[in-house]
Symmetry: C2
Subunit: 285 residues, 2 copies
């Protein structure tokens, strides 16, 4: 999409990621207007305060007809209600996308409401941190991070191109992935890790917790994430998550057997393989 053609964007949900996108859009498209939509005046005020929005609205219907792009950035289970509200107001050629961490359920609902041939294409910008709220908006979260765009068989190629161009203009790398394969993958690399981090937080009693050092701190960092956002993520991707949890439980059982065997060589080999796989993929840090 040529830069000059994006003149107005509505961002529904102006928290950490919505606010970040608002800031990044203004860097990428200097004269763009950013309409922020939210449930709470206070969040909208905070998003305006950091310069993420040019206008703020409690009701999307008062502004969405002006937009070239609409981005859904609330917790995912709120998308459906907003899509119903705006579906008859979108101007021709408008691109509708989202930032949800789950895709099959989101894309199904969006295509049912808006139609399969557009204007919706799903996106998952893999950016964020454990902070909540537009006060923490930070365009460096997007720099070089990955955005997964999830067209279906019905999505026009041109629409997918426009979505990818948009995220790239904000500094992100993009790949395309089928929504179902996306959900299986993120269940393993994102949703399961979040749940494991939370469960670990419940393991030690108060006295034992006094002994927690940096390792425990980094393993429980994710548990500090926004409960409402994570509620919606896990509830919209239950099967892949349950499958990942099952597989992980089997891994625990296998390691318990290995440890019980007392086979030092095999134990060292296991730790070496895990370390090497991380070095070869994630790196050393």
């Amino acid at each position: 999409m040529p830069e000059e053609s994006i003149k107005h964007v509505t961002i529904i949900g102006t928290g950490l990621i919505g606010g970040t996108i608002g800031l990044a859009l203004q860097k990428a498209y200097p004269n763009v207007e950013i309409a922020g939509v939210g449930r709470r005046e206070s969040t909208l005020e905070a998003a305006r305060g950091v310069g993420a929005l040019t206008t703020a609205h409690l009701d999307p219907t008062e502004i969405v007809d002006q937009s070239d792009v609409v981005i859904l950035a609330t917790p995912v289970r709120a998308f459906e209600g907003y899509l119903e509200k705006i579906k008859d107001l979108l101007k021709p050629g408008c691109l509708v996308t989202d930032v949800g961490s789950t895709k099959a359920d989101v894309v199904d609902k969006a295509e049912r409401i808006l139609g399969g041939g557009g204007p919706f294409v799903g996106s998952h910008p893999m950016a964020g941190n454990e902070n909540k709220g537009p006060e923490f908006a930070d365009t460096s979260l997007l720099d070089g991070a990955l955005c997964i765009v999830t067209p279906t068989e019905q999505t026009p190629g041109e629409l997918t191109d426009r979505a990818e161009d948009l995220w790239r203009a904000l500094g992100m790398r993009t790949i395309r992935l089928d929504p179902v394969r996306h959900d299986d993958a993120v269940a393993r690399v994102s949703h399961l890790p979040h749940i494991l981090s939370c469960l670990l937080m419940a393991m030690p009693d108060d006295e034992q917790l006094q002994l927690a050092a940096t390792g425990f701190g980094s393993m429980t960092r994710l548990a500090g994430g926004d409960p409402e956002m994570w509620r919606d993520i896990v509830l919209t991707n239950p099967e892949p998550i349950l499958e990942a949890m099952n597989r992980y439980s089997d891994f625990i059982k296998e390691f318990a057997e290995l440890l019980g065997s007392g086979d030092g060589q095999a134990v060292e080999r296991f730790f070496t393989e895990c370390r090497d796989r991380r070095r070869d993929s994630i790196g050393d840090s």
Copy 2:
């Protein structure tokens, strides 16, 4: 222990933590001599190169009779062999301690070899990172970190005091804990987290691993740790670790049931409780 009375320290094992202690000792006791003992010339050379040692030795028997303090800093299963070698050479009043991450097994063996009434008292300085080798020695790893000292009923109080004074002189906080209670606690806050991190590294296939972002990176950071050190840690603390793994597997099962129920309020409550417990104990970072 008055500072002036520590004139000579032998550190057996001059890797990341041994090297770090060598540097910290020289800051705390300006004229102290640090004899480093190791299996490999190259590691000893590297430890000398960063200034962690004043002399280097492949054989502890050539130097240990001069020491006021002996610190075992190899992987824990090598302690026994070294203690057998040095037991008849220690000078009166020498303090022997260690840096091992497991304590009941270590303390049992050390008291059997050196005697229960001294000169051994177990220590676990909770410092380190995923790097290996004295090149990464860094006294800031000790600053304000916790060192658990684990006397038994037989340990003279004066010896425990000296061990605590030593670690405090290096900038650490200290607490005393029974070796068995130590092992139960670290199984939950340190050993289990390490194993979970390693097992997570095996979850995604190569394609899914491409989607790993910062969350997966921080959850697998521990998996980058030294395989030999972790082999010895888990093999010297199997029962508490297996018990922690069992309990954790039960937590996974309970969360799977919760997720399967689709009860959004209960799911959000779970995430909120985990987040709040972390905020109240570890903090926000």
